[in-house]
């Protein structure tokens, strides 16, 4: 800080006081950052430690269900199948927390390759087909046959697509429609825009930002119809941003939502 020798003593005092306050604020920020890092590490450790016993429970239950230790009667098999699917659901949630922790810290490195994004979309559609069929939903890919190859981390893009398509199915009533469409924007159309849309219940404008925030759910009440960690879209945002892309939503309550994310088509090669 440069101060003139002729400055008013009261001004000098005030500047000193402000400097002290700024130092104090910086200390608080540093402390909060350190605490946040500790909490993240704790979340990561706990999640990892939860996985091991859960994996053992699922394997034991599967051994029983498959009759490897003797045939079960149908009621016993149903009950043991419940243990397997409950355990699986728990592991999926733990995995979501772990993925979030990794994507939010510096633990993720992108492994970029060239791949056909329309084929990836079709794969995710096929994986979600049984779930969609249960609700008599259609999942349509509207275009994309002429797109160039994308240079990105295939697993991470798949994660983002699976999350957006899974959400669309979850929040669209029976008999509804889910679609995926591509467009290009920017100078020389160097950015690919991927849209995942649905004609489901939609999101209020006030909640557009909230849905991408970690641990936030539009309906966070214990009686909410859709349970989850509330991390899915926060992870999707982190993974898209790692690719220097952006993610956003446009929606109308009662009419449906359209989620968009961008991927650079020609990023610098590794």
């Amino acid at each position: 800080m440069i101060m003139s020798d002729h400055a008013d003593p009261s001004v000098k005092e005030r500047i000193k006081a402000l400097e002290a306050k700024a130092k104090e604020a910086q200390r608080t920020i540093d402390e909060l950052r350190a605490r946040d890092a500790l909490k993240t590490q704790f979340l990561s450790n706990v999640s990892h430690d939860l996985r091991t016993p859960l994996a053992a429970i699922i394997t034991h239950a599967e051994i029983l269900r498959e009759g490897l230790l003797g045939e079960l009667n149908p009621k016993q098999r149903d009950s043991v199948s419940g243990i397997v699917s409950g355990g699986q659901q728990l592991i999926d949630m733990v995995d979501e927390i772990l993925t979030y922790v990794r994507s939010a810290s510096d633990q993720v490195t992108l492994v970029r390759t060239e791949f056909d994004i329309t084929r990836l979309v079709d794969q995710v559609r096929t994986l979600n087909q049984p779930l969609a069929a249960k609700k008599r939903l259609t999942i349509e890919r509207r275009n994309g046959d002429d797109l160039p190859a994308v240079y990105a981390d295939r697993d991470k893009v798949k994660h983002v697509l699976a999350n957006l398509i899974g959400n669309a199915i979850k929040f669209t009533p029976d008999g509804g429609r889910v679609w995926i469409a591509f467009s290009r924007r920017g100078k020389d159309t160097e950015e690919l825009v991927v849209e995942v849309g649905d004609n489901g219940r939609g999101i209020a404008r006030d909640h557009y930002d909230l849905v991408f925030r970690e641990f936030a759910q539009v309906d966070a009440s214990p009686s909410r119809p859709h349970h989850g960690t509330g991390l899915g879209l926060a992870i999707a945002r982190n993974l898209v941003e790692l690719h220097s892309g952006t993610i956003w939503v446009e929606s109308e309550l009662g009419k449906g939502s359209r989620f968009f994310f961008t991927l650079p088509l020609n990023p610098p090669r590794d």
């Binding site: 990892h48 996985r51 091991t52 016993p53 859960l54 994996a55 053992a56 699922i58 394997t59 034991h60 599967e62 051994i63 498959e66 490897l68 230790l69 592991i91 995995d95 772990l98 993925t99 990794r102 490195t109 492994v111 981390d153 295939r154 697993d155």
Partner: protein
């Protein structure tokens, strides 16, 4: 003679589950919980297939492969097991000589099919 599987895993909970599974499926089962133990077990008796956890208390599971290779005791196949989908660690496993990388918990049907395929 039944094929011999060496389970390298530091959690007794998971080891127990696999021991029950592989014994019921008719395999001979041996277990090791550390890198040192796995190298010792893998060298003393020939192993047909090794199921390898990557994170062990005294090091990485991949060190075992290297040590067994140097001693001429590599199993016919090694299947790595990991808790998370990570393309970088998958690549490292395949480069180190693992036949495949499985994500825990592996559905038992798939696990038994994989083992059968690699032992054929």
């Amino acid at each position: 003679m039944p094929a011999r599987i060496l389970i390298v895993e530091d959690s007794p909970l998971v080891t127990d589950a696999f021991r029950v599974l592989f014994t019921a499926a008719g395999y001979d089962v041996d277990v090791a919980a550390t890198v040192v133990e796995a190298i010792e077990r893998g060298t003393s008796t020939p192993v047909d297939l090794m199921l390898l956890d990557l994170t062990l208390p005294d090091g990485s599971g991949l060190e075992i492969l290297e040590a067994l290779r140097q001693r001429g005791s590599l199993p016919r196949a090694t299947l790595a097991m990991t808790g998370h989908r990570d393309s970088a660690s998958r690549r490292a496993c395949l480069e180190a000589g693992c036949a495949d990388v499985l994500i825990k918990p592996v559905p038992i049907g798939e696990l038994l099919r994989q083992i059968e395929r690699h032992l054929a």
